[in-house]
């Protein structure tokens, strides 16, 4: 930005402000003439205009002409939700000289016009504040240009189980070269599914994979590092003693869950007590077994109380039937807690009936009273009769839960995939975009994610291969999100940013000198801003949500002249995917909001910078409300959890410095929580006005009650 010769201040870019009347919805509540007058006094504003519907075709055309005629460098539209219309207006100015990134929409409809209808003066004040905030942001805003990347037509499949093999075959049949890497030297499909033909199917698939010219099968291989971005990854794979490099367009993670082994903590006699897997191997071996009293215990492991493995009930039932068929004289008992007997395509109910007809005894036990395995007998409390039952056994088969494969955690760090509480790879956005991960070139399916039976596994495999194929079939990909930029002159190579990046877009590289340098992959960056917050030297910029724009906006938002004397001042940093949406919902429903709240749209709660929060307090905020997505709903994976952690630390520090930590409040919202956001703000205001226990004097000054 050039500097003005006379004042020495940065030259203000030529700004145009368009006011939307929204057909009376805004114009009827806010005195737009006054607002226009106030706006034209803002620095840099050279053009203002009122319009009934700027979003109409005519309105867009007029906007386009205004940009060209007046040579505007920045445009601000004061209207409704930026989430709704920002894209529209940006595409309207696409053909002009104005970079679409320099167009912003300030929401005066949901935030000012709709909820504050009854007091015109306050409504005008608030609207003027909102316009001024957006104008402050525009001055320093930098446009984020879209990035394009080529898509390499090949895929890498991690995991050689039934799912991995199926995905590889499906992709290879469509002409995509596939590399399949498997950790084990031999294929290790669980034996216990012998009955439903899964093992045979897997072996057939394996043979097909080995003979397929388009598939490269790598055994004893381990993923060591992944570089690159969607459409063009470079994967380093350790193959025995050497490391090879694979170029690929998409990565499919299909590693299989494994049955938890019977740990050393169990004292059992292992000749008589087996896991399902071991027992299946025994049955498979075909040797005559001496079986008199066989007991199957389903959900044998405590942790199954937490997640259902979904295959073991069916397997237990099949094995019970098989034992009864082979040894009709044996007493077969099944102890179960719940029976999960559904599957895609067929139900195992028939097997249940068959088992009953063959004379298998069933007992149900309760969650609180699991079976107790004794030396010769098993004791349970029958849930139906509430009587204790003692069952003799000479063979007990425990169904062990499926747990994530050993390399799941490593894959999660390498590919930047979040883990759920059981250690499986979790879908970060189950509600918003199921099946998709932060990084569009990475696909996860099957037991890497959740245990599943074979029918479901195949279903997942074909679904994923179709998705992957669709991704690989495009020539280029286009990414529009803001992208973090690293100032190489400031970067200290501390290694903070790669640790917190949700998509693994940041890597450290060697450069001349002694310190490493962080680099951002532009196609991978989703623009959450987490790295900007953790950077100890603030060497990272995030155009659109920058370290210059946000503090500037905060100062303007908390400007004393926009508040009534003695009014309390609340700043709300609102994640645009949740809290900001909730504010708009509240506006739609005309739920009144406290006048004293100023809402700042942020891209993600990961971008809530402790420095900005302190800056807000220094600028006179009496309270700062942070609105984030509910845990598990973050658009960028775990931004809200990072925010929570930072708030906890900040609370501690505030308390240590004698400031009431209640002045900083973090709340979780969904988009529809309009009433909640209004209630929270009202409660927050109430809390602040009724006294905070601060030592010393907060910047807000005299109107606070000071309690020691």
């Amino acid at each position: 930005m050039a500097e003005d010769e006379e004042t020495g201040l940065p030259n203000q870019p030529r700004t145009g402000v368009i006011f939307c009347e929204c057909g009376g919805l805004i114009g009827g509540q806010i005195n737009l003439e006054q607002l226009e007058l106030q706006a034209s006094a803002l620095p840099g504003v050279v053009y203002t205009h009122r319009e009934a519907y700027p979003c109409s075709k005519d309105g867009q055309e007029r906007l386009r002409r205004a940009v060209e005629d007046r040579n505007l460098e920045r445009v601000l539209v004061a209207g409704c939700s930026p989430r709704l219309v920002e894209k529209l207006f940006r595409s309207a100015v696409q053909a002009t000289t104005l970079d679409p990134g320099y167009l912003l929409v300030a929401n005066v409809r949901e935030q000012a016009a709709l909820p504050h209808g009854d007091d015109p003066q306050a409504t005008l004040q608030k609207a003027a504040g909102i316009v001024e905030m957006a104008a402050a942001r525009l001055i320093t805003a930098e446009a984020a240009a879209p990035r394009y990347g080529k898509v390499r037509k090949s895929a890498l499949v991690v995991g050689g189980g039934l799912r991995g093999l199926s995905v590889a075959l499906a992709l290879a049949d469509r002409g995509i070269p596939v590399s399949l890497i498997e950790t084990e030297e031999e294929n290790r499909e669980p034996l216990y599914n012998a009955q439903d033909g899964r093992r045979r199917l897997a072996q057939e698939r394996l043979a097909a994979v080995q003979n397929h010219p388009g598939i490269r099968l790598l055994r004893d291989a381990r993923l060591m590092a992944v570089y690159g971005h969607p459409g063009d990854y470079e994967a380093r794979v350790a193959l025995g003693n050497q490391t090879i490099s694979l170029q690929t367009g998409a990565i499919v993670v299909a590693n299989e869950a494994t049955a938890k082994p019977l740990g050393s903590g169990h004292w059992f006699d292992r000749t008589r007590i087996k896991t399902q897997n071991e027992f299946a191997a025994e049955l498979e071996a075909g040797e005559a077994l001496v079986l008199k009293d066989v007991v199957f215990i389903l959900c044998a492991e405590e942790s199954q109380l937490q997640h259902c493995s979904r295959v073991c009930c069916a397997v237990g039932l099949q094995q019970a039937v098989r034992v009864k068929q082979l040894y009709p004289d044996a007493n077969v008992t099944v102890l179960f807690r719940e029976l999960y007997l559904s599957g895609i395509g067929r139900s195992q109910m028939a097997e249940l009936v068959q088992a009953r007809n063959l004379g298998v005894t069933f007992f149900r036990y309760g969650q609180q009273l699991p079976p107790v395995i004794g030396d010769k007998t098993i004791d349970i409390q029958d849930l139906l009769t509430r009587e204790p039952v003692r069952i003799p056994y000479d063979r007990a088969i425990l169904s062990m839960p499926l747990v994530p494969a050993g390399n799941t955690r490593t894959l999660s760090t390498l590919l930047g995939l979040p883990l759920d509480e059981y250690g499986f790879l979790a879908e970060p956005r189950t509600r918003l975009r199921p099946g998709s991960f932060a990084d569009p070139g990475i696909y996860v399916l099957g037991s890497a994610q959740q245990p599943a039976d074979s029918a479901e596994a195949l279903f997942q495999a074909y679904l994923t291969s179709a998705r992957t194929f669709r991704f690989l079939n495009q020539e280029t990909i286009r990414v529009e999100s803001p992208v973090a930029k690293i100032d190489a002159n400031l970067c200290t190579g501390c290694g903070n940013c790669p640790q917190v990046c949700p998509t693994n877009a940041v890597h450290l590289e060697k450069r001349d000198g002694i310190l490493s340098l962080s680099t951002v992959d532009e196609l991978l960056c989703v623009g959450c801003g987490n790295c900007v917050v953790v950077c100890p030297v603030k060497a990272i910029n995030l155009p659109g949500w920058d370290n210059q724009e946000i503090p500037a906006q905060i100062s303007v938002a908390l400007d004393e002249s926009r508040f009534m004397p003695g009014q309390c001042k609340i700043l709300a940093l609102a994640c645009e995917w949740s809290a900001y949406g909730a504010v708009e919902t509240a506006g739609h429903h005309r739920i009144p909001m406290p006048d004293c709240a100023r809402i700042l749209r942020m891209n993600c709660s990961a971008r809530f910078d402790p420095f900005h929060i302190l800056w807000a307090f220094l600028n006179g905020a009496d309270g700062v409300l942070l609105g984030a997505c509910k845990p598990g709903e973050c658009h960028y994976g775990m931004g809200n959890l990072y925010a929570r952690e930072r708030v906890e630390v900040l609370h501690e520090e505030l308390a240590q410095h004698g400031i009431d930590p209640r002045r900083l409040r973090l709340e979780f919202f969904s988009v529809q929580d309009g009433e909640k956001v209004a209630a929270v703000l009202a409660d927050f205001q109430n809390q602040i006005e009724n006294g905070m226990a601060d030592r010393g004097q907060m910047p807000g000054g005299v109107r606070m009650k000071v309690k020691l």
Partner: protein, 388 residues
């Protein structure tokens, strides 16, 4: 009182993890508890039927503050000599660790030292541990600093009070050398036993050390190497590779940058890359191939170097790329900026409750963030206004 360490070092994630405060604590209430910094143990006393929490810290003479390297920002000690060196014994090598071994084993042979405190890798678990080496054999056997973090001074008390060592060399990272420097500068007479015992501090060039979890994550999980297969683990002399030598004498390598995300948080602000407080600093930066740069910064450093040369364990040459060293030293500014931001955080918090500091905090924020300010928007409280 440990309060100052808590607010200015631990809470800001500045702790270097050297362990000097733990060693020096007169009440022995500092210890390690799985955190990346020491923690204060709380002690209780039973008086009749009531239990009282003892505040052991209150009446202390602040031993921890007096030795903490992070509470002081030192100017570098001027280098007396900078030379390129190679070890000629116990092994022929130019790697920094072998050079250090040559220097201290020469010192031990000549009777200048009776013990060395340095880091080693526990052979079974591959975890870094602090060790006292008393003989030349032990010195040669010890792996030396491998950029894996362990509190080095955990064994200091054992060396000084149990082994009654009078002449100790401390081999570590620049922060441990800073701790020694801080210790030496202290006027507290009760720290005298340590001051007298530590004769030499040696530092390797360092930009950060890794948390030991790195081994499990990178070695075991990514490379698929079991711990018991590993014979030796080293960072390559040029610091580009993590080298693992297995018992079948094959070598596996992984790029060091991949391990970088395991860097200790406290290393991010340290701007001493070249051991600027150490008597002797050694590293491969600026040295020709198969050699190390040796910077001697004090008389003690010069004596030990001369001794090693005289015993034929070290050969020196003047061919050092001084520009590379100067360039590295100039990268300090960036880390200093990190410190400025940490100071800003404290300043801002202070400014919230103390009107006198408020305008300073605002000015500093604007300066560091280059926030655009509308004229007259911020200067509401002129400098010096107490806001009364």
């Amino acid at each position: 009182m440990v309060k100052r360490l808590e607010t200015e070092v631990w809470n800001l994630e500045n702790c270097s993890g050297c362990g000097m405060c733990v060693a020096a604590c007169s009440k022995q209430v500092l210890g390690w508890n799985g955190e990346s910094h020491p923690v204060v143990q709380s002690r209780t006393k039973t008086l009749g039927l009531s239990k009282t929490t003892l505040d052991s810290c209150t009446f202390c003479r602040k031993f921890c503050e007096e030795v903490c390297p992070r509470l002081e920002h030192w100017m570098p000690i001027e280098a007396e000599s900078i030379q390129a060196v190679r070890a000629r014994g116990p092994v022929f090598s130019g790697s920094p660790n072998d050079v250090i071994r040559a220097v201290v084993s020469a010192g031990r042979s000549a009777g200048l030292l009776d013990g060395v405190i340095m880091l080693d890798l526990e052979r079974w678990s591959l975890k870094p541990v602090a060790r006292i080496a008393t003989t030349v054999e032990q010195i040669v056997d010890t792996v030396g600093p491998q950029y894996l973090w362990a509190p080095l001074f955990d064994v200091l008390n054992e060396a000084v009070f149990e082994h009654k060592m009078q002449n100790i060399a401390v081999i570590g990272t620049p922060c441990t050398a800073q701790a020694v420097r801080k210790l030496r500068a202290s006027a507290n007479p009760l720290l005298k036993p340590y001051q007298d015992a530590i004769r030499l501090s040696v530092a390797v060039f360092c930009t950060g050390v890794y948390r030991p979890e790195m081994i499990e994550e990178v070695l075991v999980k990514r490379m698929g190497v079991a711990r018991d297969q590993v014979r030796r683990m080293e960072i390559s002399p040029d610091r580009q590779w993590l080298q693992v030598t297995l018992w079948d004498s094959s070598v596996r390598t992984i790029q060091r940058q991949q391990a970088e995300s395991f860097t200790r948080a406290g290393c991010g602000k340290c701007d001493d890359f070249l051991g600027e407080s150490a008597d002797l600093a050694v590293g491969s930066l600026g040295a020709p191939a198969e050699a190390s740069t040796l910077i001697s910064r004090s008389q003690a450093g010069a004596i030990f170097t001369r001794n090693a040369v005289q015993l034929g364990l070290l050969e020196t040459s003047p061919e050092v790329d001084r520009q590379a060293l100067e360039a590295a030293a100039s990268e300090k500014d960036r880390r200093e900026r990190a410190q400025a931001f940490k100071d800003l955080e404290i300043l801002m918090l202070d400014g919230l409750v103390d009107p006198k500091k408020r305008s300073d905090a605002i000015q500093q924020f604007i300066r560091l963030y280059r926030t655009p300010v509308r004229p007259g928007a911020v200067e509401t409280t002129p400098r010096g206004c107490t806001g009364c």
